[in-house]
């Protein structure tokens, strides 16, 4: 599986000698092996030209841009290698069929609550008392089948997530007070970590969706058009507990990330460059970690799990094979 490259420096990236070269404002030159790149993440101020874009297009490398306050600012995607009108038609049909949409949305909610629950059970079996949260999550799961429409499902998901966030209060040290999820902008370190981590999960899902012929704007749980790539939001919800949250607990509890890794501004708190590098290093390592897949009978990386999830959805849409969302099994 190809790797993600992250550019924090300011400067310029260009095509040079058949690969990608970064020239920083300090005059340093660094190379990215293009044959080895899945996507390039731009966190700094970077110039580039159209020659680079065509080159990246030829190699199928995506560029994800992060702007002010680490907000996802958009992606430059390679021209679609995969196009399939039939897939898009089926995708829209499934959206338009209330029953099918409901069942897909329910599957997303079920998966994401399951994955939250796995995290809670893990910490509950250690020194923390989280039985109450588990109960609330189970109650939410029980309500999925009774939900009569999408907005009710969204409600179930939101209730579950609110309960789930109590885990953060319990598991994280007092110096990292959480006090509920807030963003735009995140007011404290924990929220900053969640926002940053989730935006990485989101961008990785955009890459995964783009590898298929599915249209990233047509989604089932989230309303299409709410944000640009709403299908990515559907898929990302399944993986946030596995990719962002567990990593966050680990980094804070092992003191790999400390209060010094953030910069505070009026009403907001964001990771500074050192903090982002620490987080991303571990995040990328997590993506590369592998688990034995029960049906494929081989080891797959977490990153490939994102890809598999999109393939499963596509298969469901094209063949009608039932879609069972990703549930952490290990």
């Amino acid at each position: 599986m190809d790797k993600n490259y992250h550019i924090f420096s300011d400067g310029r990236i260009e095509r040079s000698e058949d690969t990608v070269r970064l020239e920083t404002d300090d005059g340093e030159k660094k190379h990215i092996p293009v044959e080895h790149a899945e996507a390039i993440y731009l966190h700094g101020q970077i110039d580039y030209n159209t020659r680079l874009m065509s080159f990246l297009n030829d190699h199928g490398v995506a560029v994800h841009v992060f702007g002010w306050n680490d907000r996802y600012a958009g992606s430059l995607m390679p021209e679609r290698g995969q196009t399939s009108g039939r897939t898009v038609v089926e995708q829209v049909r499934a959206y338009d069929d209330p029953e099918q949409r409901q069942s897909l949305a329910a599957s997303f909610v079920r998966g994401s609550i399951h994955n939250m629950r796995t995290n809670v059970t893990y910490y509950n079996s250690r020194e923390y008392e989280l039985g109450g949260v588990i109960e609330e999550l189970d109650n939410a799961t029980a309500r999925i089948d009774d939900a009569s429409d999408i907005s009710e499902l969204m409600g179930v998901e939101a209730t579950a997530r609110r309960a789930y966030y109590q885990t953060f209060e319990a598991v994280l040290p007092d110096s990292f007070a959480f006090d509920g999820r807030e963003y735009n902008p995140p007011p404290n370190p924990v929220n900053a970590l969640i926002s940053f981590g989730n935006s990485m999960v989101y961008a990785n899902c955009v890459s995964a969706i783009r590898a298929t012929a599915l249209d990233p704007t047509i989604s089932y749980l989230h309303e299409p058009g709410e944000r640009r790539y709403s299908l990515s939001l559907d898929i990302a919800d399944l993986f946030k507990p596995v990719l962002t949250d567990r990593l966050l607990f680990r980094l804070v509890n092992r003191k790999q990330i400390s209060r010094d890794d953030f910069r505070d501004e009026v009403g907001s708190c964001l990771l500074n460059e050192e903090g982002r590098t620490t987080f991303l290093k571990e995040f990328e390592e997590t993506l590369e970690r592998t688990v034995e897949h029960p049906t494929l009978n081989r080891k797959v990386s977490y990153q490939y799990l994102l890809r598999l999830e999109v393939y499963k959805l596509k298969k469901h849409l094209l063949t009608g094979e039932s879609y069972d969302s990703f549930k952490r099994w290990w």
């Binding site: 992250h6 690969t19 092996p33």
Partner: protein, 86 residues
């Protein structure tokens, strides 16, 4: 898999090999590159190396099935460190 590529080229042609290998690997020292590579890419790279080579020049490719098998000690700066965080 993990490979180390070492080459010896005519002085005015070294840049060609560097340019070729840089597409796949990290340049660690004059005439030395290393890094993770897939089997498919390695096969392609080997083919391209062979095409490029002229008489009197040589390239060595050391292969390991995984970087876990490699004991690597670096004195001074490590060019592969942070090669994905620029």
């Amino acid at each position: 898999m993990y490979v180390i590529v070492v080459y010896d080229m005519e002085a005015d042609r070294t840049h060609l090999m560097l340019k070729l290998c840089r597409r796949y690997l990290v340049h660690v020292q004059n005439s030395v590159l290393e890094g993770e590579i897939s089997e498919g890419d390695l096969a392609t790279l080997k083919g391209e190396i062979e095409d490029l080579l002229q008489e009197g020049e040589s390239v060595m490719v050391y292969e390991l099935s995984s970087d876990r098998l490699l004991n690597r000690t670096v004195y001074g700066d490590d060019p592969t460190e942070n090669s994905r965080f620029l």
